[in-house]
Structures are given as structure tokens and as C-alpha cells.
């Protein structure tokens, strides 16, 4: 083996690297926790943990410098370090089973967390009493949808994701007989009555509700209990010319409709939807309190689950610490609205959810074996030494 390869090997299998990586991860977690106050939990995950480097934006410029290794980098290095160290020092002895089991558990946990980062999708489902829904809605993302209602058998829906709106270009789609030109887009905004002040320099909406209200941009919010409500001004352009300019915002309750070539279309900017092959109906939401107080004792939602293929049609009770796992999703009781009438369920898709359970058992067992060996060794030594002293 040549010297360079050996150097590489020694670097990757060394305990010094382990200690260095652990300290780096500790600093990363600490700083990320502090930064949650500013950025909120979602942005922090993105910036610190689900990234290779943590970037720092030089104030007053667009220049971003990598200042610290991110979660993927540290986690990846730890994984390499762990696997190579174990492969290098591997020996099949009883004394080592504990340490090997614990570290295998850790490897599994790191891989599981990576999978979760890549595959987990969170959304929420808001149900009024008696309401049935076949979709859940995104916490963060929105979409501009155009719906053609003219066929009585089905609706033609074209959804334009928010990322495309943010680029402020033109969108053309084979299902759309017109072009959608994004004239303005704000990641967070509110609606105000009347015309926009001239100083705001907003493109005017000419059709729909846009003639009576205008958008007012807001700074992005990162608070855990608030969400950004985007706003957009879009113009629909046909080969014959413009159809008009619409204002779109999730705050507009009613869909805005228009007709083109005898087809009636709806235009809505809404929370991004994820459709499922089954539906949930809220039968009853209950909010129990402790006697004589407002302290919540329990929240629960009785729902009916009905699958499209007709195999499932049953009632389920979702309550605190007891979610419904169905169709690869987990539904848990997240919140409620309107004086204990409306339930809000969080919907999570995480195919790797079982991995931590397995990893936990491996790590716990491994450590018990390892420290058990140390302890029995210590006790034996002491009892051997005791008569002498």
C-alpha cells in the first residue's frame, strides 16, 4: 500500500476525525437551534441540516459564502468514518458485539434521517363537520390552478407551482388554450380594498375581483404559527389578444370565473393540494377540558375513511398520541378551529418511519452490552482487590 493511500485510510478510520465531526455537529445543532428564533423551523432545517454547507450572505450583496459544513456534509462524513473504521478494525469477538451493534444502529439512524429528509412530505387537512376531502394541503407551497368545468363528467385542472410564478415568466401548457403571463408575484402579501397607490408601482388587474382590491406586499414571515400568503397578478393571453389581467391570492374566497371559446374557467391561487386514492370525512371533533378550566385534556377527531377501490369504509378515532396510519400516510391531530368545530389534521408521508425504531433497539441493546461488559469487569476487579485491602 502506498503512503498516500495509507494516509487517506488513517484519516478516515481515525477516532480524532470522529471527535472532530461530533464537535462540528454539536456546534451546528446549537447554532441552528438559536437561529430558529429568526428563521423558523422549516427554513432552519433547509439552511443547516438538509444542506452540504451553511452559507452566509454578505450583507448588502448577493454573495453567499460557505462558512460551516452542513448536515449532509457532517452526517455523510460521519457515515464514511463509521463504516470505514468498523470495516478496518472489524473483528468478531464477543467483547466487540456491543460497540458494533450500537454503531450499526447509528449508521441505520443516519441513513434513515437522510431518507426522511429526502422523502418526507408534510401537509395538512382541514375538515369541517361532515366535510369529505380527498386531498391534503401543503404548509408552505401554493399553486395557481386553472379549472375547466365544461365537461360534466370531469374537471380539467392545470396547476402552476409557485416556483414558476416566482420566475415571473410566461407559462404555456398543452391543456391551456391561452398563455399565462405572470406580471407580479409576492411571496407574502395581503389584500387591501380599493386601488393601489400609484407609488406602489403595481400592475393593475382589470378583470375579476382585482378591479376592487389590490395586493400589498408583506415581508416573509418565519413564525411557527403564521404562513406566507402569496399574491400574483397574471395576464391571460390568447392568439387573439389579451383576456384580461387577474389578481390571485389564497385570501380570495370565491373562485374567479371567465369564459373563453365556450369553456368556463376558474382561476384560483390556493395551497398546493396532494390528492389521495381515498377520502376522509369528519364525523365529529371533540375538545375535552379539565373540569372547570380551559386546560385541554384531549383533542380527538372521529373520521370515516373510504378508499376509492371500495375495500375500506370504516370509522377511525384520531387523538393525541394516537395517529391514523393509512395508505402510507400518517394522520395526526394537529389543531382545531371555529370553537371546537373544525379539525386540522397533519398528514405526513414518511416511508422510512420504521427505521428509527429498529435503530433505537440496536443502539440501546449495543450500549447495554458494551457497558455491561465494562461494569462486570469493574466489579470483578474490585471484588478481587477487596480482600487485599
Amino acid at each position: 500500500m502506498n503512503a498516500l493511500v495509507r494516509q487517506f485510510r488513517d484519516f478516515f478510520v481515525s477516532l480524532n476525525l470522529t471527535v472532530a465531526l461530533l464537535i462540528l455537529s454539536l456546534v451546528l445543532v446549537f447554532v441552528a437551534t438559536l437561529d430558529q428564533v429568526n428563521l423558523g423551523i422549516w427554513a432552519v432545517q433547509h439552511k443547516y441540516f438538509r444542506s452540504f454547507f451553511v452559507f452566509w450572505r454578505v450583507p448588502g450583496s448577493d454573495l453567499a459564502l460557505p462558512v460551516f459544513p452542513g448536515g449532509y456534509f457532517i452526517g455523510g462524513m460521519l457515515l464514511v468514518n463509521l463504516i470505514s473504521a468498523h470495516a478496518y478494525r472489524f473483528s468478531l469477538t464477543w467483547r466487540k458485539t456491543g460497540i458494533q451493534l450500537a454503531h450499526s444502529g447509528l449508521i441505520l439512524l443516519l441513513i434513515g434521517e437522510l431518507l426522511t429528509g429526502l422523502l418526507q412530505k408534510d401537509s395538512s387537512m382541514r375538515l369541517e363537520p361532515g366535510e369529505t376531502k380527498q386531498y391534503s394541503e401543503s404548509f408552505l407551497e401554493n399553486e395557481l390552478v386553472l379549472i375547466d368545468h365544461s365537461d360534466p363528467k370531469f374537471d380539467e385542472v392545470v396547476a402552476i407551482p409557485e416556483t414558476l410564478l416566482a420566475e415571473k415568466g410566461s407559462v404555456q401548457h398543452p391543456k391551456l388554450p391561452f398563455q399565462v403571463k405572470v406580471k407580479a408575484y409576492y411571496p407574502n402579501s395581503t389584500l387591501e380594498m380599493g386601488e393601489a397607490p400609484a407609488s406602489a408601482n403595481l400592475p393593475a388587474a382589470t378583470a375579476g375581483i382585482g378591479a376592487r382590491v389590490h395586493l400589498s406586499p408583506l415581508p416573509m414571515t418565519y413564525k411557527p404559527d403564521e404562513r406566507n400568503l402569496p399574491g400574483a397578478v397574471v395576464e391571460l393571453i390568447t392568439p387573439e389578444g389579451t383576456l384580461g389581467t387577474w389578481l390571485a391570492s389564497p385570501m380570495i374566497g370565491m373562485p374567479q370565473t371567465f369564459t373563453y371559446q365556450n369553456h368556463t374557467w376558474e382561476l384560483i391561487l390556493r395551497f398546493k393540494r396532494f390528492y389521495r386514492p381515498f377520502s376522509l370525512t369528519l364525523l365529529k371533533f371533540s375538545h375535552d377540558r379539565y373540569a372547570g378550566t380551559e386546560i385541554p385534556k384531549n383533542f380527538s377527531s372521529r373520521v370515516r375513511v373510504k378508499s376509492d377501490d371500495g375495500r375500506d369504509d370504516r370509522e377511525v378515532l384520531i387523538y393525541m398520541n394516537n395517529p391514523l396510519r393509512y395508505g402510507g400516510l400518517t394522520f395526526y391531530q394537529a389543531s382545531f378551529e371555529k370553537g371546537d368545530q373544525v379539525t386540522i389534521l397533519q398528514v405526513v408521508r414518511n416511508p422510512g418511519w420504521l427505521i428509527p425504531y429498529v435503530a433505537c433497539v440496536m443502539m440501546g441493546l449495543g450500549l447495554v452490552i458494551q457497558f455491561g461488559f465494562s461494569l462486570t469487569g469493574f466489579i470483578r476487579k474490585r471484588s478481587a482487590a477487596a480482600p487485599a485491602s
Binding site: 477516532l15 454539536l26 437551534t33 439512524l109 379539565y290 372547570g292 394516537n322 469493574f378
Partner: protein, 639 residues
């Protein structure tokens, strides 16, 4: 002679502990102890009035004693006597100084000048002490009468603060909001039994009772549109206004449900019970008894008072035997204050252990060990009583976590001391036990520490597994840190750290770190599983989760640095001390961020203590980086 020292210490400790268990005696002819055991439904829990009195006083003024600095004799003999005064004789209780105000800005807001706050001591000795700063030179507790004129202004200021988020409020804003909350609590207690303005509420009720039949008839007639007695109607309306004022203003549900009703939600405040008389045509007997108690208290009729207290007990005991039993035990538990006794004994254990390194190692060491065991026994009894009262695993809130962190650490210390017999366990245990109980004592100022569990946390299984395991992880990490402190201080400042002791300490720290790693890791992962069960994700980078993770990582750092030979004895100790920083941040620091699903307690004053603790630990680590040959214990022996 010195042979008997450990036994003497044990006997004295035991007597001290037992003496706290004796039932509370009545200082006057009034059966206040019995009054304190009367159960009442508050914040979702049936508890004795004694607890209401104590927690209210703690919330109002940070201590249970009602007194002024000038006068050594307190205004009342017990918290429950104060409660009786505020319930039945508010004119008197309005003069007791029970509102703690520290902020000078709030003091000037309520118009209290230096003349009002200055303390003039009678004796010259006390005056000198005050000048030297050993006694307070200005008052910080004031009476309701002193505040009365400024109540509208306090309310207005507090309303101005309301839109400001709790985290960004200035000290003045926090103090003024706190003062208003205290005033509200006080007024709520004042209106719990009677209208505070009524000179004789019982007389009022008697009049009401006799006017009730005619009044009800008048109301019914008016509803039907028939001719009715307008005077009787007017009386009814006035009384209804008074009772609904009482109903709205109190949170104490004093009146138990009707005899055939077992639904705990039907405990009623006095005002509601009185309003219900319009439907039933008669005043509820319990409500009437409370009003009678008031007259007996004001007129000083002890025999009548005691008879009524017994009647209240007799009315409730057969119907709620379990609640009544708990109420009795809780009142006894309050009076025994096992954690206070433990705190004292921990100090003694610490001192005996410490002196055993200088003198009579065997005898003093054994005495320290036994005292540590006794204080542990006291804490254990206290924790078990709380568990039984609450029907919960030991850790349910920040307060009980402080109790349990200390308990776990002391248990480990007892094991260490049993094995090594070198008093290190006693010293570390005494120190941690005392410190954690002191923290718990500060945390108890927020009100009743036996709270109902909010929905997310309402799971005995997870409280018993995840929370207990992770809290033991905290205990062990702290213990390793404190053992390292002992190593550093003994090594640096004394000659007592010989090679054997140093090696023993190293083995202890290493063993405890292993233990801490196991428990914090398993606890953290169990927490992840709970999160997966209840929120649908294993790990969400929530601050509390991150805090737990940091402890695991730090313990792993210590172990790997040791295995890799990166650190030797001294390095291990320095790393272990930093474990104190990491654990205290995870325990308290993350709660101060005020974000995340887990943040269950937000504290301000604690923040400065946390910073001070962290700085002290960092300073000790810096101190330990002085080369070993400069340490007193390791200095080459002078030839």
C-alpha cells in the same frame, strides 16, 4: 467518642426528618388545620384549601410567610390563616403586605415613594446590619390598600403591554403585567366566598333567602306578563347582579355538586351556587356554610367556626372519599415540606463529606454517607407522595424535573459512595441535591406545581419512559460534571488529591459518562418514537429535541476522545465540566428560546442565572488548563 459520631449524625438527622411529619397544630382556638384540609376544585384538580393558600402566596409574593422586615412576628401564623382573612375578612387582609414589587419604575407608577419603601429598624444593631447590606434596607412587599388608588392605572399600563409579544417586553412591561395578574388573583380570592364590600354577607343571604319565594313568584308573573311585585323583583335583580359578579370573578370552585351528582365538572364557584338558588328556591347548604364560616371568623366565634369546618368535612367525606384522602395527605405533605428538610440535610451531608477529607475520614465520611441517605429518603418520600397525588410518573413539568434530576444524581452518588467510601459521593450528592432543590424551590413560585397535563403530554406511558430516562440522563451528565469539579478543586487548591483518589475519580467520571450516554441516547430515541406516535415524525429539529441530541453528542465526544487517547485524566475532567454547560442549556436554555412545540416554561430571571452558571463553568475549565505541575496536589514535593 468519635466512634459514635456517625450514629449521632444519623439519629439527629432522623429526628429532624421525623419532626417534620408531625401533624400541624392549631396556634389558636380556631381549627385552621381542618379548614386547610377542606377540598376545592381548582384548575381541574380537587385540592385542599391549604394548597390554594400556599400557592397563592408564592405567586403573589414569592414566599409563604406574611410579614414585614421591621417586625419579626408575622401577621398570620400560617398561610391558611391568611386565606381565611382574605376570604372572610378582606378589610383586614387588605392591609397585609403580600404584593411583591421589585421594579422601581412600577413602584413610582403606583405612587410609592422612597418614604413608603424605606425600612426603619428599631434596634441599632439591625440598622447597622442594614447599612452593611445584610438586612434589606427597602421594602419590596406592599398591601392591597397601598395599591388600591392606582389599580386603574396598573390596568391601563398592562393593557398597553398586551399587544407586545412576551419575549420582547421590557422589564417594566413584564413587571406591570405581573403585578396586574397578582392583583387579579388577589381579587379573585377576595370574591371567592362573599362580596368584599358586604359587612355581613351571611345576613345578606338570610334576607335573600326570606325574600326568595316572593321574588321567584314576581319573576314568574312578570314572564307571563301578569301583575307582579316590582319591589321584590328589584331585590332579586340586585342580588342576581351581585352573585353574577362573584361568579365571574373567581376561579375557585368551592361548592361540591348536589348529593346525587358525581360529575366533577359540576363543582361550582360560590356565585354560581347562589345564582342556582333562583332555580331551586333555596340556598345550597355548602354555600350557606361558607357564609356562616365568614361570620364566625369575623366575630371570633371559634366554637362555631370549628363546628362548621367539621360540617364541611362531613358533607364531603362520604361522597368523595378518595379526593378527601388525597386532600388530607396533600395538606400534611405541604406542612411537612419534605424537600425543605432534604435541602438542609444535603447541606450537612456535603459538609461532613468535605471535612472528612481533612479529619477523621472514616467517621465523618460515614456520617456524610448516612445523612445523604436520609436526605435521599426525604426526597424520595416527597416525590412518591407527589406521584400518588397526581397519579402520574415522577416528571410532569419543569419543577418536577428539577426534583428528579437531583434525585437521580443522588441515587448514583449513593452507589458510588457505597463502592468507593471516599466521601466523594457524599460531597457531589450533597451539592447536586441541594442545588436542584434550590432550583425547584425557585420554580415553585409560578403557582401550583401539581398541574394537569396538557393534551399532548397526557400519556403516562411516555412520561414514564422517555421523560424519566432522559431526566436520568441529565442527572448522570451533571454528576459527571460535578465529580470533575471536585477533581479540579481538590487537585488545584488542596494537597488531598493523591494518585489513588485521582484514579478513582477518573473511573467514576468515566463510568458515569457511560451511564449518561446510555440513558440520554435511549431517552432521546424514545422521545423520537413518541414524536412519531403523536406528531407523525421521528425527528423535527425542535429546540428541545436538539437539546437532548447535544447531550448525547457531547457524551459521545467524551467517550471517543478518551478511547482515542486524545484526552487523559485532566482533559476528561475538563470535558466533563463542559457537560454541565451542555446539560444546563438543554434543560433550561431551550425553554428560553420561546419557540417549538416543547417549550413548556418561559423564564426570565432564570436566564441570568443560566448565563452566570455557564460562565462559571467555562472559567473553571480555563482554570483547569493550568499545567498539572502547578496544581497543589501534583506539585513536586519540596525537598
Amino acid at each position: 467518642m468519635k466512634k459514635y459520631l456517625p450514629f449521632a449524625a444519623l439519629i439527629f438527622g432522623l429526628l429532624y426528618l421525623l419532626s417534620s411529619l408531625r401533624p400541624a397544630a392549631n396556634m389558636t382556638a380556631f381549627d385552621l388545620a381542618g379548614f386547610g384540609r377542606v377540598p376545592v376544585l381548582v384548575n381541574g384538580r380537587i385540592k385542599p384549601l391549604d394548597t390554594v393558600a400556599r400557592t397563592s402566596l408564592l405567586t403573589l409574593q414569592g414566599r409563604q410567610r406574611v410579614s414585614t422586615p421591621e417586625n419579626s412576628a408575622p401577621f398570620v401564623h400560617s398561610p391558611v390563616e391568611w386565606l381565611a382573612d382574605i376570604f372572610f375578612n378582606p378589610a383586614k387582609s387588605d392591609t397585609y403586605p403580600v404584593f411583591k414589587i421589585d421594579s422601581p419604575e412600577v413602584l413610582s407608577l403606583v405612587g410609592l415613594s422612597e418614604d413608603d419603601t424605606r425600612i426603619t429598624y428599631e434596634s441599632a444593631a439591625k440598622r447597622t446590619m442594614a447599612v452593611l447590606g445584610f438586612l434589606p434596607s427597602s421594602k419590596s412587599r406592599f398591601s392591597y390598600s397601598q395599591l388600591r388608588d392606582k389599580l386603574p392605572e396598573i390596568d391601563r399600563q398592562a393593557r398597553l403591554v398586551e399587544p407586545v409579544e412576551a419575549q420582547v417586553r421590557t422589564p417594566f412591561q413584564k413587571s406591570v403585567v405581573q403585578l396586574r395578574e397578582r392583583v387579579i388573583l388577589y381579587v379573585e380570592l377576595k370574591t371567592a366566598v362573599q362580596m368584599p364590600d358586604s359587612p355581613d354577607f351571611l345576613g345578606e343571604l338570610h334576607l335573600f333567602q326570606s325574600a326568595l319565594p316572593a321574588g321567584i313568584q314576581a319573576v314568574l308573573a312578570k314572564q307571563k306578563g301578569e301583575a307582579h311585585d316590582t319591589a321584590a323583583l328589584k331585590v332579586m335583580r340586585e342580588m342576581a347582579d351581585r352573585f353574577s359578579y362573584m361568579e365571574q370573578l373567581t376561579y375557585l370552585r368551592l361548592v361540591s355538586p348536589a348529593a346525587d351528582d358525581t360529575d366533577a365538572t359540576h363543582w361550582r364557584p360560590m356565585g354560581t351556587a347562589l345564582l342556582d338558588s333562583f332555580g331551586t328556591g333555596a340556598i345550597d347548604p355548602t354555600a350557606l356554610n361558607y357564609a356562616k364560616l365568614g361570620r364566625a371568623w369575623r366575630t371570633g366565634d371559634a366554637a362555631e367556626f370549628n363546628r362548621l369546618v367539621a360540617a364541611l368535612h362531613d358533607a364531603i367525606t362520604p361522597r368523595y372519599p378518595a379526593a378527601m384522602q388525597k386532600s388530607d395527605v396533600e395538606a400534611r405533605f405541604n406542612a411537612a415540606a419534605p424537600f425543605d428538610s432534604s435541602m438542609t440535610l444535603y447541606v450537612w451531608a456535603f459538609l461532613f463529606g468535605l471535612f472528612s477529607w481533612l479529619l477523621w475520614p472514616q467517621q465523618l465520611g460515614r456520617a456524610g454517607f448516612w445523612l445523604l441517605g436520609l436526605s435521599f429518603l426525604g426526597s424520595t418520600l416527597g416525590i412518591f407522595t407527589r406521584m400518588w397525588l397526581e397519579g402520574r410518573p415522577p416528571v410532569t413539568n419543569l419543577y418536577s424535573s428539577a426534583l428528579f434530576v437531583g434525585w437521580g444524581a443522588v441515587l448514583l452518588c449513593l452507589v458510588l459512595e457505597k463502592i468507593y467510601r471516599n466521601a466523594i459521593g457524599s460531597v457531589a450528592g450533597g451539592m447536586i441535591g441541594f442545588a436542584t432543590l434550590l432550583i425547584a424551590d425557585k420554580l415553585s413560585l409560578g403557582g401550583d406545581t401539581l398541574e394537569m397535563m396538557r393534551a399532548v403530554l397526557d400519556s403516562n406511558f411516555w412520561l414514564a419512559t422517555h421523560v424519566v430516562v432522559i431526566t436520568i440522563g441529565y442527572s448522570a451528565t451533571f454528576l459527571a460534571g460535578f465529580l470533575a469539579l471536585i477533581y479540579i478543586f481538590r487537585g488545584m487548591f488542596t494537597r488531598s488529591l493523591d494518585q489513588d483518589t485521582a484514579d478513582a475519580l477518573t473511573r467514576m467520571v468515566y463510568g458515569i459518562v457511560c451511564f449518561a450516554t446510555l440513558f440520554s441516547l435511549v431517552g432521546t430515541v424514545l422521545g423520537g418514537i413518541w414524536a412519531d406516535q403523536s406528531w407523525g415524525r421521528f425527528w423535527g429539529w425542535d429546540p428541545k429535541e436538539n437539546g437532548a441530541l447535544i447531550i448525547v453528542i457531547w457524551n459521545a465526544v467524551i467517550l471517543h476522545a478518551r478511547w482515542g487517547g486524545l484526552v487523559k485524566q485532566r482533559g476528561l475532567m475538563m470535558l466533563a465540566v463542559f457537560g454541565n454547560v451542555v446539560t444546563s442549556w438543554s434543560w433550561f436554555g431551550v425553554n428560553m428560546l420561546g419557540v417549538g412545540l416543547h417549550s413548556y416554561g418561559f423564564m426570565d430571571a432564570a436566564f441570568y442565572w443560566l448565563v452566570a452558571f455557564v460562565l462559571s463553568q467555562v472559567a473553571i475549565i480555563a482554570l483547569a488548563s493550568i499545567p498539572l505541575e502547578k496544581w497543589r496536589s501534583f506539585r513536586p514535593k519540596a525537598a
